[in-house]
Each structure stands twice: as C-alpha cells, then as structure tokens.
C-alpha cells in the first residue's frame, strides 16, 4: 500500500480552510443514520464523541474505566498552548507552528502541525464557554504563562490540574449528549479486537470487565482515542491501566504503526524509591520556570552527600554545578525535555547524582523563595510541593527537590493521514494514539492541545468526508468477520487462562520494562538494541509458556486484564527496538549514541531519515515491513536545534 498523507494542495496557511471546503458533507437529515464507535474517553475521545453527537451522528463510546471522566488526560498538570497572543509578546499561529516543528526536531508533517496551531485558538474559546475555570488576571481576563522552553507566554492553565479541568469540560459535553441519547456510553468495556469487513473498519469486540461478557459492536466508522503506550516501560508516569491493546489489535489488522521508537522522557519526575515501585509521578515542568537544576561539581562531593557524611546545606555555592544554566546559557533550565533529561542522566552517569540511589538531580527553589517569598512560590507550585512531600516525606520549601527523568509520553502511534484516518479505511486515530503532530519530541502543554484539536475541530470535518461516500444504510454485526473476531478474543482469553505457569503478569511486565528502559530508553545503541530484541523474544516465549493466572473470564479478573495488555506490550516492545535500530540518527527523544555532535547533542541525518517510519504487521513472530513517508519541508528551514 502506498502511504498517501492526503495533504491538501496550496499555501500552508490556506490548506485547512480549503480542505474544509472540499470535504464532502453529510446531509443533516442523514447524520442520524450513521453510527460511529469511539474508543477511549480522554480529551481526544470525549471531545470527539460530544462533537460528533452534537452534529447528529449516533455515537457509541467505550472506556475501560468506571466513568469516562477518569481517563489519564486528567493527570496533565501544566497547561495547554494556544496561539492567542493575548500577551502581546509576539506569538502567532506561525510561531506556534514553527516552535512545534522545531521542538519535534523536524520529524513531523508541516501541514498537520500548522492546522494544530490554527485551531489551538478555538480550543480555548470552547473550553471557556463550557465553564472550564482557567487561571485569570485581576482584570478578569485569561492568564498565561511561559512553559517548557517557549519564549512567549502562550500556555493557559488551571493551577496544577489543567488536564482535569479540560477533561471535565469535555466530559460535561459528553454527559449532555449521553443524556440526550445521542451517545451510548459503555463503561468498564475494553476493546480487544477490531472488526474489518471488506477492507473497512466496521466494528469492535469488547470485554465487559465486570461480567467478562464478550460483545460485538458495529458502526460505519471507528475512532481510536486510546492514548499512548508509555507503560511498555512498566514504570512510567502513565496511569496503571494505560495500554497499547486497542491500537495494537488494529495494527495486527492492517493499521500501520508509525515511529514507535519516539518516546518522551520527562525530566521532572520523582525518583524511584524501591523495587515495589508501581509507577512514577511526574511534577509539572512549570517547576523549571523557577527551580534551578544542579548536582555537586565533583563525584567525591556527591558520594559524601549520598553516604550521609554531609548535607545539602553543607555544599557551598561554588561547589554546585547548575549544569543546564552552564551549558545552555540562553535557555538555561528551560531547555526542551529531551535535552534536560539527557543531561540529568549524564550527570548521574558521571557519578554526581544525589539521593540514596544516586539516580537523581536537585531542583532547587531557594533562589525563587528568596526573590519572591514563600507565599508567591506556594501560590504557583503549592499543590506540586504538597504532592512531592506526600510521596517523599521531604519539604521542598526547605530542601531542594530530587528529580529524575521518566517515560511520560509517546510521540509514535498509529499512522494517520491528514484526515486522521489510519491505513485501514474507516479507522481513525486521534490524540496520543496517533503519531501525527509532535515529531520526535513533544513540547510541553501541547498534548492537551492536540487531543482537543483532533476531537473538537478536526475529526468532525474529516469523518464526514468518509461517511458521505457510503450509503446511510444500517450496519449490523451479522457479517462473519464479527463472529471470527469474537471467537479470536475467546480463544486468546482461554489461552491466557490455561497456561497455568509460575510467573505473574506483573513479573513479565517488569522484566520487559527493564529491557526497554536499559536499551531502548533515554539513549540507545545498536548493540544494546540487538540484545534487547533477543531478550524480548525470549521473554515473550516465556510469557506464553509460564504465565500464572487464577479465576475465570466470567468475572471481574484484573490480573487477566493485565495479562492481555502485557502480551501486546511484549510485541510492541520488539517493534520499538526495530524502529530504533532502523533510525540511524539521533533526533528529539530518540538518541542513538553512535550519532551525536562533539558536544553530545543529537545529530540528525536529514538526508536519509527525514521520513515517517510506518510499520506493517506481517504475522506473528515475523519481521514487520517498513513503509516510508518522506517529509517535505517547504516553510521551515531544517536547522540543528541549539539552545545554547
């Protein structure tokens, strides 16, 4: 299959307007004759479900949570970008576009990113109208802050819980449509298979997590808004349930998976404290606006600190290395996430890390407190400081925070064209689930923007174009493909339950996480990746011969749920390794040790790798086929990112 990105002709700034005019429309009276399935109710799913229902389509929405409001979008803290230029500081649609392309290290599509920047302004208006309580100035207008390396203040926020407030806005719109009967909501339902009829996505198979019942659902189109796959690393800042199963099932039915190795490591997370650790907690990188990152200048000093012979306060100013300020004088502590993360790892690799494990650097607020006072600092970061203290039992007003990078976001995902359609006709992917807008590295406060852009302002136009091309006749689950998919789900569940081995699903997941973090994490090299590939294959064989589960399918069985998700992670992990091996360059969050500048910065190879790597499933334990979508840059000049 030829990868056609369907990018509209014409100047960048006019593409979306023109495209909206050129797409086919569904007659308003016919919209109610089309059914759309939406899987996932985070920002991308809830906004799409509400908006499509408002237009008149019949929507069936699915979530494995007990309520659509619990999706992991809720945990986003920092904010949402929009090119409003309310601050009169030189922001514009083009600047947000440019920053996003550059921040993504030139591995995303110009047209998609420009559209994202364009609709960003509508998102804020929509959320305000819904009653989202954004932060405001004393004059009553919306407040902004500068965030994650941006040199303009374009980030809108709701204290430290922007994600929750935006999701509650989308959830309220969704709830209204549920009440109207335009959305049928299925909670505690996990999608376990995609149904493809005559080459088109026609439905899904789900498992009711309470009763174990396997159900089939038909629709004219299916939208996956199921989030990212960061939990392939076991430890990540994702919620525990986050998984790759829905997109992976679609991948195995023909949807290409793009740039799987592009994962984002977030620099400001609370360090690991022990083997029992079940997840990592992120603290908003807005902390880097006022916190200063440092480690002791010498290994000896760091050793004494870790050994408890000296305390932080005993380290004089001249013995502290504020390494980000030193190496990047113009951006300082606000360098992009990948740069901040890699430098923290480097400091720890040099033996200068702090905390009992040595895998942490300091984030110090002493100067900010001296400059602005405790009250002001607490107003900005109070909830984050409280969270930190709850977890670590240390008071960040008195002691510098200890932070370490953790897996946070996955830029890769299902390949989609400009319409957000995957390589399976009728199957769409929105939000973190797709690969489209963030290239090799996502900027802070851009995930919320993309999820809502896709759901509120892109899919309502583009899905109509597809639906208008098919007759508004009812779809049913009568086709044999539904029966087949349903039987496949039953067989797989029974297989998992019948292994009766000795190791728990979590043990396999942790083992996979170690392999991925050590060899396909913050930095990668060919040798390590080759090793990881073999280890994953071995672990996968062990999984299918030594997995231990109890209970049955016909009940709430949380270990069975985990086992199914881990099985898919064990396949995805290998594809990530293959993708990282294939990409013989460093870009954004993908750092191949073999390809770096003399100053240890990522060294891109635009001549050979300015493409999207889209992988096609070819069968169990078979190498996947690589398809390349060449990226065309007509409006920005490719430069080496420099934050010096």
């Amino acid at each position: 299959m030829n990868l056609d990105s369907k990018i509209p002709e014409g100047p960048l700034a006019e593409k979306w307007e023109k495209h909206k005019f050129n797409v086919k429309l569904v007659n308003p009276a016919n919209k109610r004759k089309y059914d759309v399935i939406i899987v996932g109710t985070g920002l991308a799913g809830a906004s799409a479900a509400a908006s499509l229902a408002e237009l008149g389509y019949n929507v069936k929405a699915f979530t494995y949570h007990d309520s659509p409001r619990r999706a992991h979008s809720i945990a986003a803290q920092g904010g949402i970008n929009a090119a409003k230029n309310y601050q009169n500081d030189g922001d514009s649609v083009f600047r947000l576009f440019y920053d996003t392309i550059k921040g993504g290290d030139y591995r995303s599509r110009e047209a998609n990113v420009y559209r994202l920047a364009q609709v960003s302004v509508n998102i804020i208006d929509q959320c305000v109208a819904q009653g989202v309580p954004f932060a405001r100035e004393y004059g009553g207008l919306l407040a902004n802050r500068s965030f994650g390396g941006a040199q303009v203040s374009r980030t809108f926020y709701a204290r430290g819980q922007t994600g929750q407030q935006l999701l509650l806005g989308a959830y309220s719109a969704l709830s209204r449509q549920i009440a109207y009967g335009k959305v049928k909501m299925y909670t505690r339902s996990e999608m376990l298979e995609l149904v493809v009829v005559d080459g088109k996505a026609r439905g899904i198979v789900t498992r009711n997590l309470i009763t174990g019942e396997i159900e089939t659902h038909a629709a004219h189109a299916v939208v996956l808004a199921t989030g990212g796959y960061g939990n392939v690393f076991y430890l990540s800042t994702n919620a525990k349930y986050c998984n790759v199963t829905a997109p992976w099932r679609a991948h195995k039915k023909g949807a290409y998976f793009a740039n799987p190795c592009f994962t984002q490591i977030h620099p400001t997370c609370i360090p690991v404290s022990g083997d029992y650790q079940s997840k990592l907690t992120l603290m908003s990188e807005s902390l880097r606006n006022d916190g200063r990152v440092w480690v002791p200048k010498t290994k000896e000093m760091a050793e004494r600190l870790r050994g408890g012979q000296i305390r932080v306060a005993d380290i004089p100013e001249e013995e502290r290395d504020y390494f980000l300020e030193r190496k990047y004088p113009s951006f300082g502590n606000l360098v992009p996430r990948d740069v901040a993360s890699r430098n923290a790892k480097q400091a720890c690799d040099e033996g200068r890390g702090v905390g009992s494990t040595g895998l942490a650097v300091y984030l110090d607020f002493a100067d900010a407190i001296k400059r602005e006072g405790v009250d002001k600092v607490s107003q900005k970061y109070g909830n984050l400081f409280a969270m930190y203290e709850k977890i670590t039992a240390e008071n960040p007003y008195e002691l510098p925070m200890r932070i370490y990078p953790a897996v946070h976001y996955t830029m890769g995902g299902l390949w989609v064209d400009y319409n957000l359609m995957t390589s399976i006709p009728g199957l769409y992917a929105t939000g973190e689930c797709n690969f489209s807008d963030h290239g090799a590295n996502r900027l802070g406060a851009s995930a919320l923007m993309q999820g809502l852009a896709d759901g509120y302002f892109v899919i309502p136009y583009t899905i109509g174009d597809y639906l208008a091309q098919m007759p508004p006749t009812p779809v049913t689950t009568q086709h044999a493909a539904f029966k087949e998919a349903e039987e496949a789900v039953h067989a797989r569940t029974q297989k998992l339950l019948s292994i009766k081995g000795t190791r728990t699903p979590n043990e396999f997941h942790k083992a996979l996480g170690h392999i991925m973090w050590d060899h396909c994490g913050m930095s990668r090299n060919a040798e390590g990746l080759q090793f990881a590939k073999q280890e994953i294959q071995k672990l996968r064989r062990e999984f299918w011969s030594d997995l231990k589960l109890t209970g049955t399918n016909e009940e709430l069985n949380q270990m069975l749920e985990i086992a199914g998700r881990v099985a898919d992670f064990l396949e995805l992990g290998e594809l990530m390794v293959d993708d990282a091996l294939n990409r013989e360059e460093s870009c954004g969050g993908h750092f191949r040790e073999e390809y770096q500048t003399p100053e240890n910065e990522a060294l891109r190879d635009d001549e050979n790798f300015a493409y999207v790597a889209a992988w096609e499933w070819t069968g169990d334990n078979q190498p996947e086929t690589l398809h390349k979508e060449e990226l065309q840059f007509e409006n920005v000049k490719l430069t080496q990112r420099s934050y010096k």
Binding site: S67, R70, K240, Y456, L549
Partner: protein, 261 residues
C-alpha cells in the same frame, strides 16, 4: 532498597480485607499477613504485594479500583480503618504511604459503603450514579464551535478562583462513604457551585440545580444532616460552603422555577 530514608525499617502487617465475589453474593472479612513492607511504599503498592503473593499461591487477588496513582483520577476508593481514604487528611488512598502505619498494625480495608454504590467485587464499587447526576445537568449547554472569544467573558479573579476550588472535586465518592446517611450533597454541590458562580452558567442555573438534585434523590443517596464529615474526609478539600450555596440555589430555583411545563 531503602529509598529516601535509609533508617526506614520494613514492617509486618495484618490485613482484614472485605472479600465479595460479585454484586449479588455475600461478602466477608478475610485476614491476610503481609511481610517486609517498606514505609516508602504507597498503600496501593502494599496491596500489589499482597496480590502478587495471593496469585503465586494460586488464590484470587483482591479486586480494587485505582488508576493514575497520583491522586487526581478519583478511581481509588478504600475505606481504611473506618475512614474514607485512610488516616491522612487531604489524601487519596493512592497517595497514602505506609510510613503512616507501624510494624505489627492490623489494618481493616473495606469498600465504600453506600446503597447507591453497589460492590462490583471485593473493594471495587460502582459509582455510575455520579455520572448520571452530571448527565442530569452538570454542564453548560454549548455545542462545539460558535462560541465567543475566551476573553469576551471576563470573570473577576476571586470568582474564578472560587469556581476553580469547587471544580477540583475528583468524584471519588469519599464524601458519600464518610457520611452516616451516605449523602452525595458535597459532590453535587461542588458542581452546582462551580457553574452557578460563573457567568457562563447563569442561563441554566435554575433548571440545573432542580434536575441534578432530583437525580441525586432518585439514585438513593441519603439526606444531608449537616454533620460535615464529607468535607472533613474529602481528599481535595471541597468546602461545606458549597452545600449551603446549593441549598440556597435550590430553594431560589424552586420559588422562581424556569420549568414552565
């Protein structure tokens, strides 16, 4: 690994856990021992340890609700030693750490207890009643598109801040679990307040409170007798003031109802 505090000693604990196969079966308290629990663990990580042990022994692990483990998704919902989310004030179960307990402690763990929250299994409960209350009116009726510019609706900062405070509710249901009447007034009032305070919420102000309160009653939540346990146990500090505001909104709406039918 000792984590942040090299002096932290591992603990042995006795757990008394509510086990119930499904909604229709009888439940009972079952006792378990867990060993070598690090004080640095979260409460849910301690339950993970128990569940790994149970599974390896061929027993069925304890079902419990959780997800983000950052205190924001509102999934976790344990009644620990007779208190919603356990002994630490202003804390969800997932953010409760074992350093709040001592070696040799016996810890009783139950699900939320309320008729409107039936048990799915063990410690997991069904809180869909909350969703249905929101569906009855917990929104501003705007469609996507066609809305004014964000800055065309200026809102005084103190009002915006107050609305935000009410909006921080995470719908965990601790207020219901803590209340001897299993009343949902704090949850419902938080949403009513948020939208009643904001200019965007004015148009539907009266119908909203009428419809949401009617749905709340229909779901079988108890009445409010002004004890205030809900606010005392709320992990995100939703204020009792919201209930007062909701009562005022309700009476005022009933007296001048927009329901013309």
């Amino acid at each position: 690994m000792a984590g942040n505090n090299p002096n932290a000693k591992p603990m042995n604990l006795t757990l008394k856990v509510w086990r119930q196969r499904n909604r229709n079966s009888e439940g009972k308290i079952v006792e378990y021992q867990v060993k070598d629990i690090s004080p640095e663990m979260s409460f849910l990580e301690m339950l993970d340890v128990l569940n790994e042990d149970l599974l390896l022994k061929g027993d069925e692990p304890v079902a419990f609700d959780h997800d983000c483990r950052e205190g924001i998704c509102g999934s976790c919902d344990l009644f620990i030693n007779g208190r919603a989310h356990g002994p630490e004030k202003g804390t969800t179960t997932c953010q409760l750490h074992m350093r709040k307990f001592s070696d040799g402690d016996t810890i009783t763990i139950e699900p939320w207890r309320a008729n409107a929250f039936p048990v799915n299994r063990d410690l997991s409960v069904d809180r869909s009643a909350f969703d249905r209350i929101i569906q009855a009116g917990g929104y501003i009726s705007v469609n996507t598109g066609g809305v004014p510019d964000g800055n065309e609706i200026p809102i005084p900062k103190n009002i915006a801040d107050k609305a935000f405070e009410a909006a921080t509710c995470i719908s965990c249901g601790a207020c219901v679990a803590a209340c001897k009447n299993a009343s949902a007034m704090l949850f419902v009032s938080a949403k009513i307040s948020q939208l009643a305070l904001l200019p965007q919420g004015q148009v539907e102000r009266k119908t909203r409170v009428e419809n949401m309160v009617a749905q709340m009653d229909k779901e079988g939540f108890g009445a409010c007798t002004n004890i205030g346990q809900c606010a005392a146990e709320c992990p995100v500090g939703i204020s009792l003031e919201n209930i007062a505001l909701m009562n005022r909104e309700f009476i005022s709406a009933k007296a001048t109802s927009d329901n013309l039918a």
